[in-house]
Symmetry: C2
Subunit: 328 residues, 2 copies
């Protein structure tokens, strides 16, 4: 099929939807993924909506329990990036016309397992049938101390850029699931594939970071793109040292065998790690938080006056091949 | 296509999703459309999610501004039935692969018009592309005084059943849009069609009814079905006098020409009127509220101990042909 070049998701939002959010301050001009609403005297609600479509955002033949986990976790990852603890969610399920009850039963079982894991509950939603593919929309609600929610805007020049966990596993895991990456061991491929199929949102770390991170996002569009989102929203430039980016053994083996895969590592999405700006003076607090959450964190760059992204490898400037997963 | 008999939407919710909502009281066991979350010291948030699919819930060639209005208003109607004033909304837009920017521009213009009309703002969402039909999910938030939100449960034996506006226009309007109803004048058909295409949620009346209505729903599944939802959730029986059901001139002409259309009037959905239980002693308060909102209300039946629905016509029992729009 011929594809016409059209505006991308971010342009579409800026041009048509951000103006609709202008009058509600908690929307932050749609520059962050999350919206903030008053919750009670001491808390704000953090609200995030994500839609996933079979064959687009997950493999069309994925197990129902894993579809449930993916649908929930991509939202929970944003709530963590807002510094919030997940609370409840709304579920919209558009089932294909040939839906079968055992699929729904297994899907609900997957939701139940994640509800226990993350301490959340379903609070409402909608169920329809569509002539199109299975489509799931989750609106998830987290809670954060009043006024303490973290957004993409707020980084200051001199702040360091940190990430949780390892980067690139999501995009490489999709390749592994598609039968690519022959240079890897079966175990490495299985590890990466699991990272793609079962995101691990950083729900224990995120809520520890209000007061430490000045800006935060989750790595869903890709490390470069999500770092640039923080830089843009904070009106700063960001630089990243590629060789400091933390890789899993499988990802390290993949880029060693084929350095072109660095583009996937830095530009692919679906890692669901946290990327954040942290002032140098709060480094010890950050490390204590990460230690208490049991999650590895790595410093990979810094913010400075200016705009855009610069990537170095071993200190030498390289061209950033891809800015991230393009939704459209 | 052969369609296998499967469980319906309500059974699916009761069997698989209500158990997931058991631990969150504000979900009300998913028996009402709305969820209730604490908002601030004096308010609760009322939350509702609705998904509409092109060719299923609206005509596939509908004007983008009207699609926007429909997507928003079906949610606002539920918020009104919860007794709440609409506040903000999240929008998930799954665009078909052949989407065009002018469509999005016109859609956003429609949202903007309804934002002004109903005093609401966009607060976030998601935009994706789907190989399937245009699919829109709105999660809308209203506000109501703390603890005063109205649900489907709460009606008491002896309460009267009231409806706002006129009933049956939605289902008959879809027939008119499809070129049916030849017995009607062009003006009557246009009126009904507009009622189908542009729901008028009762956002001025609903927020006046906490403290007056003991239970409330909007007429989206059909008058009988939605009355039964209230009766079931309140563990009561409901009786309806068909000849008291308020009809528009077009609907009256339609059932006069073809009495079989009563099944559509009572069983079709998409009216987006309010149906409510009101104690006899609050009748004057109800009439004052309706007068102040400028919306007609009509008493059409009552609740009693027992279960199920009984329909009479001129006082004689008739068989209720259809319990409502079947989503699946």
């Amino acid at each position: 099929m011929a594809r016409v070049r059209r505006v991308g998701e971010f342009e579409l939002i800026a041009r048509y939807f951000a103006p609709l959010a202008r009058e509600f301050e908690g929307a932050g001009g749609l520059q962050s993924d999350n919206a903030f609403l008053p919750a009670d005297a001491r808390h704000d609600l953090v609200v995030k909506t994500d839609t996933i479509v079979a064959g687009v955002h997950f493999l069309a033949d994925e197990q129902p329990g894993r579809v449930a986990a993916k649908a929930l976790r991509v939202c929970l990852s944003d709530l963590a990036a807002g510094g919030s603890t997940p609370f409840v969610y709304q579920l919209s399920l558009a089932l294909p016309t040939n839906w079968q009850e055992p699929w729904v039963a297994a899907f609900a079982k997957g939701l139940a397992a994640d509800q226990r894991r993350f301490g959340i509950a379903l609070c409402g939603g909608d169920t329809v049938v569509t002539p199109g593919p299975l489509t799931i929309t989750i609106t998830a609600f987290g809670r954060v101390a009043r006024g303490k929610g973290v957004t993409r805007a707020g980084a200051r020049a001199g702040d360091e850029l940190w990430v949780s966990g390892t980067i690139g596993d999501g995009a490489l895991g999709l390749l592994a699931a598609q039968g690519a990456l022959p240079a890897l061991t079966a175990r490495q491929r299985a590890y990466l594939e699991d990272r793609y199929r079962r995101p691990q949102p950083r729900c224990t770390l995120g809520p520890l970071l209000p007061g430490i991170a000045t800006a935060m996002a989750d790595v869903s569009d890709g490390l470069l793109a999500d770092s640039v989102h923080i830089a843009d929203a904070s009106r700063l430039a960001v630089s990243i040292e590629r060789d400091d980016v933390p890789l899993s053994p499988g990802a390290r083996a993949a880029v060693a065998a084929d350095p072109r895969l660095w583009a996937k590592v830095l530009g692919g999405g679906d890692d669901y790690e946290l990327v954040m700006a942290v002032p140098v003076r709060r480094r010890a607090a950050l490390q204590a938080a990460a230690g208490s959450a049991g999650i590895r964190i790595t410093r990979i760059g810094c913010f400075a006056r200016g705009s855009g992204v610069a990537v170095t490898a071993g200190g030498r400037a390289i061209k950033a091949a891809r800015k991230g997963y393009v939704h459209f």
